[in-house]
Amino acid sequence: MQKFFSNKKLIILMILIIVTFGLLAVTVNIRDKKNTPPFVQQVGNDVVSVVGGVFAYPTNAVKNATSEFSDLYNTYSENKRLKSRIGELAQNQAKLEVVQDENKKLKQELKLNGTLTDYTTVNASVLSRSPSSWQSYLTINRGQTSGIKKNMPVMSGKGLIGRVIEVDKISSKVELISTDNELNDKFAAEISGSNNKNITGVVSRYDSSTGDLVMENVNSTKDIKKGQSVITSGLGGLTPRGLYIGKVYGIKKDNYGMTNSVYITPAAELRNFTVVTVIKSSVSGEN
């Protein structure tokens, strides 16, 4: 025993291993179970993110400029297509206003304070993306002070891109929907069909080889057609109803032929954006 403890290198190695696993286990647990990381880590991350902003803003400017440049190529055809939609849009907007007004009055009548479709938004700009294979996080420049909480869904311009996984005081991390992580990237979704029957399921996987999201536990695949849009269903309470996820691409059976999975082409172009929108659900009782 005397000899064992006199071996300095062995003791250092032992302490190193204990410290490594201790730190890892504690931080993974904190990330999974607590709403916020420890105060010291929050402050540290905030300081790093504030300084990071100095580098991020010019990068984002360049990124915007390059994407504008590529937009310029297909402006003509896009313009033509958009012009044909403008008339439709004005009509839809007028209709939306009337319907929203009606909805509000009816809610008052029923004394409903918030429903699954109600939400407010916070815009944030992206500071960086983690250089990591399995933690595909974006760091954004809004945090607790802007009312962001863990597990809030995040959208880019067109559709859902992920969920807030860590909140600091003035910055937070967003886990992208295209992550391999088995635990966190699940969204309750529904396929909005032409008839009234709701088809619900859980968007639970990401097929990295095709770039499609996979919706599992679908209650019926009978009426699903290619091109139908998929939205969040608001079931489970974490996500409000009606956030656009993508379009149905196809249906595949799993390897055992037991269940059907619906493959969804994500609506969000997960590449060219610099600003994201955090969705704050206004239904109480969720955190």
Partner: protein, 180 residues
């Protein structure tokens, strides 16, 4: 501020800059979110740290750099503390231990040291994450889709950035020769 403190501030700023460069590179150029078959991880901070490790002789200073920037990297990018925090100082001490064998200022040596450290670091991270069930990628997929492309990309970048980075880290260490 004496020259030594000034150079240390310079070294810290140098590492800090490359620290942010990692995240921004990933965000701006390697942001393969829609078709993420191949995952490339920019590791420019590791480049800077290895360049400095090859030139700094003070082991205590190296360990402090390793732990401080390791904790920052873990906390800011990974959200899990204990990956870079442990592996980065280990790499640095390892290089410091064996660098008497190497000829200084030789690109081939520095490249192979960088290559080995990157492999060690990424494999270590993979093993730890696998152990903690943060990923379910198997070993072959990890080597094909993550380790391989990462090594390739970083080695190419190393070739491009070698001369400026080596000159900069040489300059950031120069006070030793003056004082000796």
């Amino acid at each position: 501020m004496n020259i030594k403190t000034r150079k240390i501030v310079g070294q810290v700023l140098f590492i800090l800059f490359t620290f942010y460069l990692d995240g921004l590179m990933k965000w701006a150029f390697l942001n393969n979110m829609n078709h993420s078959v191949v995952i490339i991880l920019p590791q420019i901070m590791l480049m800077a740290i290895i360049m400095l490790t090859m030139r700094i002789d003070d082991r205590r200073q190296l360990i402090i750099y390793g732990i401080v920037f390791g904790v920052m990297y873990d906390s800011y990018y990974y959200g899990i503390i204990g990956l870079y925090t442990i592996l980065l100082p280990l790499v640095m001490v390892g290089i410091d231990h064996f660098k008497f064998l190497l000829v200084k200022n030789n690109m081939g040596y520095e490249l192979s040291v960088y290559f080995l450290s990157l492999t060690f670091l990424q494999s270590g991270i993979y093993l730890l994450e696998r152990l903690l069930q943060q990923t379910d990628t198997n070993v072959l997929n990890f080597i094909t889709y993550t380790l391989g492309p990462t090594l390739l990309w970083n080695v190419v970048v190393f070739f491009i950035l070698f001369i400026p980075l080596a000159n900069l880290s040489e300059w950031l260490m120069k006070y030793r020769r003056d004082s000796k």
